[in-house]
């Protein structure tokens, strides 16, 4: 048979999305109407799903698929298998009732609009969880349920407790969700399929995989957090801070069942392994017992129900850990049973709350008279919960005991634990569903709003369903549960539910349970204080431990962050240098250390220069003044220039010398006007600085030594040398490279230079108008006299260098630097103030850039490659003699102008601006 389509289902999901956007608008004014109208979609889906049940009983499931992220192999594959159908029915059926109930419950509250938005999203997410066959799509919906739950719990955000609870729920389920994601990805990689259906078809093959244990742990983490298993149970009672409709829906009937649902989906894969069974049995029983114990101590209706839900979830996990078909059958039945009575009781508790304004069972009584319909519903649900015949709860409990009695290991222990939990269950059922309605003394006055049909419809219908299902269990069992159980077990199973099993041990157990439960209920006033005292003996509560742990993580992370991110620039630089050194050390020593070194002839002069450089570096560290430190650095720079010269790069050396000189000059200007700060670094700091510098230097040195054996590829310079004269008519190769071969890069460079100058200028713009020139002028007569002839000479030489640059050492860049240096000297002599802004430096920069751009034009006109030099013939230039004249020369002039302009602009701005207030520099911050 073909798989029936599930377009209706998908359409319903889309309708929910629109509902999430639309119903809040109506809910803002008439939440009750929004409730009734919006219930139509889930109700419709519920009946459509009912129609699918008979086919599902035959093992034929509806499916639907579409592409989503094909690059990662993720497709939206929906498959409505047995458990999925079961969960979908619960989600839509109870969902419709909750919408009606919630609309009335929240009418007039500011929470109504967000409630309708989030609850629709949540319903969508749950339906997605129920039917997604692909791991990742499943996970997407799974996480959405967590987020929607966070938002729904947070609705009651006026109370600090609600916020804390929502946060706990989010952190626990969010972290668990990510563990699940990791587990699912691992599972997908290990098994080769990302689809549950295919995985189930493989059976338990994956168990042999090496990654089996991590997969199991991660997946169980995800499910245990979601289904509130010990030790992650604490978020569930806290989540009761949510409005009652939310608690009724999310935290009893649907969301918390998602974990159990996933366990059921994975049962065919892991169900028969020892690890799975042991873990589930231990944690399931612990949760079941702890939940029961805690429930006995409660007086709040919702908290009572919450702990009994926790106990029920433990029971479900325990059943899935037993590993028998009977246990699975019991689990599936109990899943439905629990959802029916628990949602009804939750809703009833909400109405009670609404009617009396309290949920304290010690103060509630006599509500049966003013709220007769509710009393009937609550009592029916309570009977079902306590496992009395002829309710569905009875069938559930019979199966439960049957499964526990026939457990393969520790049957006695498990049965006893189950018995204890069931007995408490009976007591809770009576406390919630019976006690508030029994008459003891006068009839209380109630809020008449609690009598509305919208509030009563939900609990009544659910209680009725529980009763009918108990009377005619085959309605439920034959198709729906059979399909679910068959899918989980992996083979066709016939589920025959019946009320009467004959007189046997299970029936006896049931009767004793009810009796003991009744006793617990009757003596509740005595037992509760005992339990409370007992619980206080526990050293700590789980949520306290969690909160304290969270605080500790926060404090610790803050401490670490503060230690690393202290805000101190010096520390940052130290960290960067040390990290770099570490990287290089790793590179050296992971490669077997230093290789063999070839000892070349030792040249004395470079060694001497090297020693000079090192001495200067040490001096820079040790010096006490800024100026002396800077001069020492200058020596380092000049030393490097000498090394360039010694190793055959005169042009480079020249450039380095000039840059160094110019930098020193600019530095001198700035430093002279900085406020004098003594003790800017202590001796200890300097020692640290020295050590850090030495470490970085050592790392780089080691790196160089290790790479000494590098086989040089043919140097690119050969090629350039060869082509320099024929292609570019220049003998100064560096200059030819700059203005012709890589003119594009040079153009970029001078652009960058110009932007930097603009930046400096912009930064210093308008910091007062005080002219500092007079303060910094060096106005000794000898200096003035010297400068008066040195400056013109320097400028003259700079032009010469520019002109002859193409063939001899020199060029626009060096020429520009020299000219700029001359102008700096000139400015130093000028004591009088120059208040006018230097209009000509921007002009120089602009003109220079323009010239550089202009030099491209010939190549464009000649349709030659972009920026290739174009030659116009020979010209005679003063001082340079006859040279080939071409577009590159224009370019060189442009470079010259930009360099001069930039230095002058920066200088002028520095001189014009007044002090920046640096005293308020920021302190340490994390």
């Amino acid at each position: 048979m073909d798989q029936p389509p599930m377009e209706m289902y998908v359409a319903g999901m889309i309708a929910l999305v629109f509902g999430a956007a639309f119903w809040p608008l109506l809910a803002r004014r008439r939440a009750d109407l929004a409730g009734w109208f919006s219930a139509a979609v889930p109700a419709g889906m519920f009946f459509w799903l009912l129609g699918q049940v008979p086919e599902a009983g035959q093992g034929v499931f509806a499916s639907w698929s579409a592409d989503w992220v094909p690059a990662m192999g993720v497709g939206i594959d929906f498959l409505l298998d047995g458990p999925g159908l079961l969960l979908s029915l619960l989600v839509t059926g109870i969902g419709a009732l909750i919408l009606i109930y919630g609309g009335c419950y929240l009418k007039g509250s500011p929470q109504a609009a967000p409630f309708f938005c989030f609850i629709h999203l949540f319903m969508l997410a749950m339906l997605g969880v129920a039917c997604s066959d692909h791991f990742i799509v499943f996970f997407v919906f799974w996480e959405l349920t967590s987020v929607a739950s966070y938002l729904l719990i947070g609705l009651g955000h006026a109370q600090i407790e609600a916020r804390k609870a929502a946060l706990r729920a989010l952190v626990v389920t969010g972290a668990g969700g990510l563990a699940l994601l990791a587990g699912l990805i691992l599972l997908g990689e290990a098994s080769g399929t990302y689809r549950f259906s295919e995985l189930q078809a493989q059976g338990g093959a994956i168990v042999e995989h090496a990654k089996f244990l991590p997969i199991l742990v991660l997946v169980l983490l995800g499910t245990f957090t979601k289904s509130a298993q010990f030790p992650f149970h604490f978020w569930l009672p806290g989540a009761m801070a949510a409005p009652t409709p939310v608690s009724a829906y999310l935290h009893s009937a649907t969301m918390v069942k998602a974990g159990v649902f996933l366990l059921a989906k994975l049962y065919p894969v892991f169900g028969q392994t020892e690890e799975w069974r042991t873990t589930l049995m231990i944690f399931g029983s612990l949760t079941m017992l702890l939940g029961s114990l805690l429930a006995l101590a409660q007086t709040d209706l919702k908290r009572l129900l919450a702990y009994s839900t926790m106990s029920a979830l433990g029971t479900l996990v325990l059943l899935l850990g037993l590993g028998t078909t009977l246990a699975v059958e019991a689990a599936m039945v109990f899943l439905v049973v629990h959802a029916l009575y628990k949602a009804a009781l939750f809703m009833a508790a909400g109405v009670v709350d609404k009617a009396t304004g309290t949920r304290d069972i010690t103060r509630l009584s006599g509500l049966g008279a003013p709220l007769p319909l509710l009393a009937v519903a609550a009592v029916l649900a309570a009977f079902s919960m306590s496992g009395l015949p002829p309710f569905i709860g009875f069938i559930g409990k019979e199966l439960l005991y049957e499964a526990q009695v026939s457990a393969s290991s520790y049957a006695m222990l498990i049965t006893f634990a189950g018995f204890a939990a069931s007995a408490v269950n009976v007591a809770v059922a009576f406390k919630v569903g019976v006690a508030p309605f029994r008459r003891r003394g006068e009839v209380p006055k109630i809020n008449p709003k609690a009598r509305q049909l919208s509030l009563l419809a939900g609990p009544m219908l659910l209680a009725l369903a529980g009763t009918l299902a108990g009377l005619f269990p085959d309605l439920l069992g034959r198709n729906l549960l059979a399909a679910a159980v068959s899918d989980v077990v992996g083979e066709p199973v016939e589920v025959k539910l019946k009320l009467w099993h004959g007189f046997n041990m299970v029936l006896a157990l049931s009767m004793v349970t009810v009796a003991v439960g009744w006793a617990l209920y009757a003596k509740r006033e005595r037992i509760r204080p005992l339990i409370v005292i007992l619980l206080e003996r526990f050293p700590a509560r789980a949520n306290e431990i969690f909160d304290a742990g969270l605080q500790r993580v926060l404090a610790r992370s803050e401490k670490v962050t503060l230690a690393i991110q202290h805000g101190n620039l010096r520390g940052y630089i130290v960290m960067m240098l040390l990290s770099l050194a570490a990287l290089l050390f790793v590179a050296v020593f992971s490669g077997g250390g230093l290789g063999e070194m070839e000892a070349g002839p030792l040249r004395m002069v470079p060694v001497g220069v090297g020693i000079l450089i090192m001495a200067a570096a040490v001096a820079a560290v040790r010096s006490n003044g800024r100026l002396s430190a800077m001069l020492a650095f200058g020596v380092v720079g000049f030393g490097v220039a000498m090394l360039y010269a010694l190793f055959g790069a005169p042009d480079l050396a020249l450039t380095q010398v000039l840059v160094e000189a110019l930098t020193l000059g600019l530095f001198a200007f700035v430093l002279r006007r900085m406020p004098l700060i003594r003790n800017h670094s202590s001796k200890r700091r300097r020692r640290v600085d020295f050590a850090v510098a030495a470490a970085a230097g050592a790392a780089v040195t080691l790196a160089m030594l290790a790479a000494l054996g590098t086989k040089q590829p043919p140097p690119v310079s050969d090629e350039m040398v060869r082509m320099s004269v024929p292609d570019a008519y220049g003998r100064n190769i560096v200059n030819v490279i700059l203005v012709d071969f890589r003119a594009m890069d040079t153009l970029g460079e001078i652009c960058v230079l110009a932007i930097a100058a603009l930046g400096v200028a912009g930064l210093l713009l308008g910091f007062g108008t005080h002219n500092r020139q007079a303060d910094v002028a060096v106005a000794t007569p000898i200096y003035r006299a010297a400068v008066s002839w040195i400056v013109p000479l320097l400028i003259f030489i700079s032009v010469v260098i520019l002109l002859r640059g193409h063939n001899e050492p020199g060029g626009g860049f060096i020429g520009g630097l020299l000219g700029a240096a001359g102008l700096v000297l000139w400015r130093l002599t000028r004591g009088e103030s120059v208040r006018r802004p230097t209009w000509w430096s921007p002009l120089l920069i602009g003109g220079g850039l323009a010239a550089a751009v202009l030099s491209m034009v010939p190549s464009l006109l000649a349709r030659a490659p972009f920026m290739q030099g174009q030659w116009f013939g020979e010209v005679w230039l003063p001082l340079a003699g006859k040279v080939k004249f071409g577009s590159t020369f224009i370019f060189d002039v442009g470079v010259f102008l930009v360099v001069v302009g930039v230095t002058q602009l920066v200088l002028a701005r520095v001189l014009q601006s007044s002090e920046i207030d640096v005293s308020k520099s920021l302190g340490r911050r994390s």
Binding site: W68, V69, P70, A71, M72, I136, F139, V140, V147, G154, H157, R163, L167, V171, A175, L178, A182, V553, S557, E558, V560, T561, Q565, Y572, M575, M576, L577, L580, L583, A587, S590, G591, A707, T710, K711, Q712, P713, P715, V716, M723, F741, R742, D745, G748, C751, V752, I755, A756, L758, G759, G762, F767, P865, F866, M867, Q868, D917, S921, L922, S926
Partner: protein, 495 residues
Amino acid sequence: MSPHYLEIFVIGLALTLLMADAFFPAREKRVIAWIGASGLAIVFGLLFVVDPAALPPDTIAPYYSADPHALFFKGLALIATIFVLLLGCDFMPVLRRGINGADNDRKGGVAESFILPLFACAGMMWMASATDLIFLFLSLELVTISFYVLVASMRRQVGSLEAGVKYLLLGALSTGMLVYGITWVFGATGMTKMSQLAVAVPGMTDNIAALTFGSMLVLAALAFKVGLFPFHSWIPDVYQGAPTPVTAFLAVASKAAAVLVLARFLDPFLNNPEIAAKLIPVLGVISGATLLFGNLGALGQYNFKRLMAYSSIAHAGFLLLGILGRDFTLVSFYLGAYVCMTLAAFFAISIVRRSVGRDDLSAFNGLARRNPALAFTLVVSAASLAGVPLTAGFIGKFGVLMGAVNAGYWPLVAVAVPAAAVGFYYYFKIVRHMFWEKPDDLEPLPVGRLSTTALALLTAGTLVLGFYPRLLERAIQDAPIVPIPAATANTADTP
């Protein structure tokens, strides 16, 4: 049309605006931003028109490629710049106060805040296309130097100046490393072209030491730009101190461009088994440490901008993990998603800053009541940053995790999963402030029409990419990271 005109157009636009502002200063500087943004929008349109094959083969093609990744990143840079300019418009009152102080008469310097991003944008577009290490270095510097200026541009504020100085000094250090590293690579191979390196390096057995040093140095320098631990230290201080539009620009565009360059540069080296054996552990440690530090550091933050700084470090860790997983289509997708969600967050920060006057998280208290729509966009953005399903951020994180699992980097997966979980905590802290805390005043918080449009677009982008991720994947088409044009693969390194 040849693609290389795109950058020329952007530079031309920037120069024109610069000149125009110098000679005909407009009273309303917004005009400059508007012209800039519209010009960039036109360039963005041209992206779909250009013909990569039309590159002049001899002159431009050796340095420049217009492969799908490059075009994608150009688009990203353009979009980011457009939004940053619009953000600047919105932020102008704060900007002006920061630049000119209390006396609002002088209007100097505001225009530069709109023009310099254009230069940076051109630089980033060149970075995306640069296939020659020297060209790459230059374009990177164009970007960085523009940023030095932009970061410090609110010079009346000590915070901005402090940020500028820190960025400048640390940045200069990283620039040094970059050049030095490139020198080593060149020294060992004689090549500066990435296409040649991509062919030659994987098979090299000589000069392994030199190549390793070179790659380590470049890695350190680019780690600085991307914000990877332990080279991240500038990020929190600079992000907090810089003007918000500049912070957004740094967080989004600068990082995206640097990630592309990092991936491109590393690719040949990771293909050489000997070098990869040294690089991969280092990259793994860096990625893990970045994930831990970014996420844990974000936990204690109460300033939104600083929180975003740590978040950007955390995302850098994920991005590096993606690079390690060698799925560059995914990394591109992650960046596209990151651009949308981060920009939206910064828009919200700037709006709140403008009207509340602070950018602490407490300034967002009760935003859900003061402006529900703005709160909603911020929820989407936070959810996406945290990696909640059905947002773009989820697809990115999920893909990265899957890639790491595929590649078998188990320790990294073990770090990345808890790190992502921690993210939930601090991103939802924003949501808590907006929905749960009581505001100081209940006045509705106005949002300009411009910002509304921008926020709507960005939020839509975040959601659409989450629902329909194929949209971005199509743009990239699984192209190789390093484009190897058949014609230039074997030519010598000559102009």
